[in-house]
């Protein structure tokens, strides 16, 4: 009897001890650390933006009233009366109260409703516009990175050659021009001057007369409408990739293992890919991660110019209207994407470079 009573708490102590050990192991594991770090980053940035956007002059109601007064020539009272019915938002609610509401909804993955768009759930807005931006900027990033790396590699390897001389100039110039200037130049030169396309017809994401569906016609139209924005994104970013890859290639070429590989009689192609290319790419992976993160936001100006139905343009509108909830939601998506892309970059770097690989022994 006495032995029974004494063993019970002991058992319990063992259990708690083993639970503690397991817990400690979990918190020390790399995956846990990386995820926790990511979540904390997202929370911090979200909190920061939450207060920041509320520090902007004006609030949704006032902004709307201003717009009404200007557009429809209403008096202040008329406008205030018109606005009162539309908003579920009380600008006088204490900030902390708003923040607590926001967080408690967020943990349930509820991003709330748009203040200005008649109560459309923010999530719906994001899901509607995000794919367009993802597609357009994503394709552009892939093209620009792949091309930039290949060109930069060739330039560095055959340094001083024709390609190097031509492309160094091109890349330096183009990487200094902002994307909207590029867009204007292309619209003016190829659209207005050469008339290769009609400027009015390249606005939007797809030809609205074509029925939505998985048809060749629809996809063709999507691609056609994406062509110019993609081209501009590629042109705007490729110069940096080219120059970064070139300088990385040149420094890699100075490494002993390249000379040794050549001395072993390896073919030029092999040396160029497995020895020079792979090592030279390592420093670019981190940069790529940052770019991948911003794929979701797109470029506000480019989307605005082409009336492309992407997230960037809607973010712009949301900011203009002080649509707090929509802004919050979109910033949250962008932050999460950047954090997620950085985790991906860590994994990719581990895959490319065994020295930073996490699972030590791979036999």
């Amino acid at each position: 009897m006495s032995s029974l009573t004494s063993s019970a708490p002991k058992l319990k102590r063992d259990e708690t001890a083993s639970l503690l050990i397991r817990l400690r192991r979990l918190t020390r594991s790399y995956a846990f650390r990386i995820i926790a770090q990511g979540l904390i980053t997202i929370w911090a940035v979200t909190t920061f933006t939450f207060f920041l956007i509320r520090l902007m002059p004006g609030n949704p109601v006032d902004t709307y009233i201003d717009a009404l007064m200007q557009q429809r020539n209403l008096t202040l009272e008329e406008a205030q009366r018109a606005a009162a019915g539309i908003f579920e938002f009380d600008p006088d609610e204490p900030l902390v109260q708003q923040y607590v509401n926001f967080l408690s909804k967020l943990v349930r993955l509820d991003l709330g409703k748009s203040i200005t768009k008649g109560g459309t759930p923010v999530l719906d807005i994001i899901l509607r516009y995000l794919p367009w931006t993802l597609f357009c900027v994503g394709v552009a990033l892939i093209i620009s990175f792949a091309l930039g790396v290949l060109i930069g590699l060739a330039m560095g390897y055959w340094r001083g050659g024709l390609l190097d001389n031509v492309m160094t100039g091109f890349a330096s110039i183009i990487s200094g021009i902002p994307d909207y200037i590029l867009a204007l130049l292309i619209l003016i030169i190829f659209g207005v001057q050469l008339q290769w396309f009609r400027v009015g017809e390249v606005r939007g994401g797809v030809d609205p007369t074509i029925e939505v569906g998985f048809t060749l016609e629809y996809i063709g139209s999507v691609l056609r409408y994406a062509f110019l924005p993609v081209l501009i994104y590629v042109l705007a970013s490729i110069g940096t990739w080219i120059l970064a890859m070139k300088s990385s290639t040149i420094s890699t070429l100075g490494e002993d293992y390249i000379t040794v590989a050549q001395a072993r009689g390896l073919s030029e192609r092999r040396v160029l890919t497995s020895y020079v290319g792979r090592n030279a790419m390592l420093p670019l992976v981190t940069r790529l991660a940052i770019s991948v993160g911003f794929v979701v936001s797109g470029s506000v100006i480019i989307e605005e110019m082409f009336q492309y139905p992407g997230l960037g343009r809607n973010l712009f509108v949301a900011i203009a209207q002080r649509d707090y909830t929509t802004m919050q939601g979109m910033f949250l998506v962008i932050t999460s994407a950047v954090v997620f892309a950085n985790i991906l970059a860590d994994l990719a770097l581990g895959w490319l470079d065994p020295r930073v690989r996490l699972d030590k022994k791979v036999d």
Binding site: A263, R264, G265, R270
Partner: protein, 338 residues
């Protein structure tokens, strides 16, 4: 003596530097026999690495071979001029006939791929099936006293410096070349590892019977491993001969000075003499014998006429470029007697 497999004649190599043309190797001639080990000794910067990189035509982009011939005799007796091979022929000649263990083992392996992949790459470049390459490599890794399976599947960063050095030795023998060039293979490792690498090298040499061009700062190591020694100074071979001749009967003032400066080989260990002055500028080398500015034996003619590399009176295989060789020898005798 066994047949000559490499005959180098009047080889000159220069680098294009900002200040002008660096004559890193000038008019070097020597022969390498089958199965022998020829060691190059000399101060840092005297052109040892440059000479050997030129032999496999793998100089940096700024370097170029100005003149000379390099006749290589293949196993089937066919003679080829290495400098006349076209790109493709040269690529195949590399490693399968002449391989190299480079100075600086830590950086000689591609950090992002496995040792096995480097071996497969080498084999593929020379048309050898993967499976044969694997067997050969495992066998060689065992011979250099490594755990073959583990090392074969490792990445370079998982190996210690000494292990990497041995891996490089094994890879250099992968295609059974007739000549292996070794540029300071033991400088970066500790004394025990150095010992074991030298033992491994000797064993392999006995078993596989290849010739070695060995570069070393360390005279003791050179004395132990080499059959013949070549002393280099300012891009030239100033003395070459069998190892006992060079160490016990040196005829060149510079060789004597080197021996005198080496701790273990000099007669009185407490009396180490450093060589006064520093090596000459290779862009504007001095006239006459390049060593005359630092030489204790120099006479008037040394300042103007470069002495040719000539056989000594009593040993035809011992060549020296010094007019005062008898005085040098006498001085050596005196040091030894002390």
């Amino acid at each position: 003596m066994s047949e000559v497999i490499l005959s180098v004649r009047n080889l000159s190599v220069s680098y294009l530097a900002r200040r002008g043309r660096v004559r890193a190797v000038s008019n070097v001639s020597f022969e390498l026999h089958a199965g022998e080990t020829l060691a190059f000794i000399g101060e840092s910067g005297c052109g040892k690495s440059t000479l050997n990189l030129a032999l496999i035509r793998t100089l940096p982009k700024t370097g170029q071979i100005d003149s000379g011939t390099m006749i290589y005799t293949r196993r089937d007796g066919q003679q080829i001029d290495v400098l006349k091979l076209n790109k493709q022929e040269h690529r195949r000649w590399l490693w399968s006939e002449c391989s190299m263990v480079f100075q600086g083992a830590l950086n000689s392996l591609n950090p992002v791929i496995r040792i096995s992949d480097m071996i497969y790459d080498t084999a593929a470049a020379h048309g050898i099936p993967r499976e044969d390459a694997r067997k050969q490599a495992l066998d060689l890794l065992e011979k250099v006293r490594l755990d073959p399976q583990r090392v074969f599947n490792s990445y370079p960063h998982e190996l210690s410096g000494g292990m990497r050095q041995r891996v490089l030795l094994a890879i250099s023998l992968l295609l059974r070349p007739q000549i292996v060039i070794m540029d300071e293979p033991t400088t970066a490792v500790d004394i025990l590892t150095q010992r074991s690498i030298l033992d491994v090298l000797k064993e392999l040499r006995r078993e596989l019977n290849f010739s070695v061009l060995f570069i070393s700062h360390d005279l003791a190591v050179a004395a132990e491993i080499a059959d013949r020694i070549a002393t280099m100074y300012a891009g030239e071979i100033v003395e070459i001969g069998p190892v006992e001749e060079i160490f016990y009967r040196p005829r060149h003032a510079y060789t004597l000075a080197l021996l005198d400066a080496a701790p273990r080989l000099s007669a009185g260990a407490e009396e180490l003499h450093s060589i006064p002055g520093s090596p000459p500028d290779l862009i504007m080398p001095p006239p006459g014998c390049k060593f005359h500015e630092r030489c204790a034996f120099a006479v008037a003619s040394c300042h103007t006429t470069p002495p040719p590399l000539r056989p000594t009176h009593d040993a035809a295989c011992h060549l020296v470029a010094c007019t005062e060789s008898e005085r040098v020898l006498a001085a050596q005798r005196k040091i030894m007697r002390q």
